[in-house]
């Protein structure tokens, strides 16, 4: 089984209702993820796109990803190297898109305990992820069905369909 745990992930705190149009602004939707990435979240957090590094995580308040079906809003976070998003709730449509693109979303009711800039880890107890804060405090997350974790392991639905394609 794939080792899904990671640690030492730097936290970017965001507020509630972060929308798809902030994640993937409409004016750049003509372009690919590289260009969208330069402008990701510029309307709500202008230091993000230039400062984000491989392995960082976003920790947000409720309703992350509301709005459009544009999956670039999830794809751009994988493109920028985010290890996961941690929030108490997501738009249902964004939730599907994220897993289809291999982006791990952790549904964590106590996400508000996590602070800007701290380093968190994530471990899995079976299908249940747990966020570990620097002081060792564990924050339980909702279980993720295996068929969704298969997509995260494969890197998304497209690679998964390729793996499963009959030879």
């Amino acid at each position: 089984m794939t080792n899904r745990s990671f640690d030492n992930a730097r936290v970017w705190r965001m507020g509630a209702d972060v929308d798809t149009d902030a994640l993937a602004p409409g004016a750049y939707m003509k372009h690919g993820l590289e260009v969208i990435g330069w402008h990701c979240l510029e309307a709500v957090r202008s230091d993000f796109a230039s400062g984000v590094r491989e392995g960082d995580v976003i920790v947000a308040e409720a309703n992350f990803g509301i709005g459009s079906s544009r999956e670039q809003a999830a794809g751009v976070l994988r493109h920028l190297g985010l290890a996961a998003v941690i929030a108490p709730s997501y738009s249902g449509l964004y939730f599907r898109n994220a897993f289809n693109l291999g982006l791990l979303l952790l549904t964590c009711p106590d996400a508000d305990k996590i602070e800007e800039g701290e380093r968190v880890g994530v471990t899995f107890e079976g299908d249940t992820p747990v966020v570990i804060r620097p002081n060792g405090q564990p924050l339980a997350c909702a279980a993720i069905p295996e068929f969704l974790m298969d997509m995260v392991d494969a890197g998304g639905l497209l690679p998964l369909l390729k793996q499963r394609k009959p030879a």
């Binding site: 409409g26 003509k30 372009h31 309703n63 999956e71 738009s91 449509l93 289809n100 394609k165």
Partner: protein
């Protein structure tokens, strides 16, 4: 034989699509897709490279509808390229159902008779719940998930709970489905639907035309619901026969309703006491009565989008503006949601009324609402019939967008400040 299990409309639609007699809330099932719709942005430019990479083909071309509405007419070379990919791919794939530059997907889909009660449909656009107005289970998905549908003809869903919004009474003149929806989004919030099924019911809903019902289902997206359903009735069937659906395909439509003893969560509203609603920047949930915004002076009044520029919306605006001109300093823009609806509005004199009031008429496309091309200039204050007023969606972050009904947008254009159409119509 055991008695049939009571089910909600959502459960019945999903049960049928998953080949089961009944389904339980919370279980994950795989459904056969009766129709998949995608557009120039979410469709060929994203799907073709992935299908080619897989060496796969569309499972059933007859069940696919491609609509060119987001990047048309092209504003620049990049947009032109995206449109060209859509047109070339449509030819290469020999797609039988392509609607090019003739209107917005959620409006042209039923207009061409593609939706019928009982169907299970997906759309590559977040406002796809619009199809729920026709008694279909329809929801929005992203391009990669659409790839999965195109390859397999199937998709998984978790059977949702149903939140039934029961509206008694009747709307006052100058109050519309948009106001009902802004009120509900304000009350429950943008994720209040929790990706469950919302169902609209009651005398005030049954009294609505199909266009108005579509507005309810459309903005279920702004409530965070997966689907926004309305059981089919005579109004539905009359509309569908009118757009040329074979009556033989409509038999049995009455089975697609929620059993009264099924389990659902009900919320009650009184249409009689509803005032026009306005959602202030930058959230559709930021809603209050129109009277609280009398000091806001918009310089742009926008009547557009799948949410707010259908024939009925144009008629509503014209009823307010008839024989008058918009206030100095206000630019009125009208982007009718489809070419057919615009033609009908022209025939009825509605377009002439809007032109006489000073309107600029824009193409039948998503236009400024999607924010993909022409948007509003820096610092604009906009009152708009569209569905979303997120910061930076319809222009620079300095643009302030207020959402309202076509009545309210027209009344506000007329008076130069956000106004209650009931006063104008009185």
């Amino acid at each position: 034989m055991s008695a049939a299990v009571s089910q909600t409309l959502a459960q019945k639609l999903i049960a049928r699509a998953s080949g089961r007699a009944h389904v339980a809330v919370g279980e994950v099932v795989t459904c056969k897709v009766d129709l998949a719709m995608f557009h120039d942005s979410s469709g060929p430019r994203r799907l073709k490279p992935m299908l080619d990479e897989l060496g796969a083909e569309i499972w059933d071309k007859n069940k696919v509808v491609l609509v060119l509405d987001h990047y048309v007419p092209a504003q620049d070379a990049d947009a032109q390229k995206i449109i060209q990919i859509a047109r070339d791919t449509a030819k290469q794939w020999k797609l039988p159902h392509v609607i090019d530059s003739e209107g917005i997907c959620h409006v042209v889909l039923p207009e061409r008779g593609h939706l019928k009660p009982g169907m299970f449909c997906v759309g590559g656009d977040s406002h796809s719940p619009t199809g729920g107005a026709f008694g279909c289970y329809m929801f929005g998905i992203g391009a990669t998930e659409m790839l999965g549908v195109c390859v397999t003809g199937q998709i998984w869903v978790q059977v949702p709970r149903t939140l039934r919004m029961h509206w008694s009474g009747r709307l006052q003149r100058g109050v519309s489905a948009k106001d009902m929806m802004l009120h509900m989004v304000g009350r429950f919030g943008m994720n209040g639907g929790q990706y469950q099924a919302v169902e609209f019911a009651g005398p005030a809903v049954q009294a609505l035309s199909m266009a108005e019902r579509m507005t309810l289902s459309n903005m279920s997206a702004e409530m965070g619901a997966q689907a926004g359903l309305i059981a089919a009735d005579e109004t539905t069937l009359k509309y569908l026969r009118g757009v040329g659906v074979d009556p033989a395909h409509l038999t049995g439509s009455e089975q697609w309703h929620t059993d009264e003893d099924a389990e659902f969560e009900q919320h009650c509203f009184d249409a009689c006491t509803l005032s026009p609603q306005v959602a202030a920047p930058h959230s559709p949930a930021n809603t209050r009565d129109v009277g609280e915004f009398a000091d806001v002076q918009p310089n742009i009044a926008y009547i557009g989008a799948c949410t707010g520029a259908k024939l009925e919306d144009l008629r509503a605006a014209a009823s307010v503006l008839k024989g008058q001109r918009v206030a100095a300093g206000v630019q009125l823009m009208v982007a009718p949601a489809s070419a057919r609806e615009q033609a009908q509005a022209t025939q009825e004199g509605v377009m002439q009324t809007l032109l006489d009031a000073g309107a600029t008429v824009l193409p039948n496309s998503c236009g400024a609402c999607a924010g993909y091309g022409a948007t509003f200039p820096e610092g604009s204050t906009v009152i708009s019939t569209t569905a979303r007023n997120f910061k930076g969606r319809m222009g620079p972050a300095s643009v302030n967008v207020y959402l309202a009904s076509p009545y309210t947008v027209a009344a506000s254009a007329l008076r130069g400040r956000i106004s209650d159409a009931r006063e104008v119509l009185a």
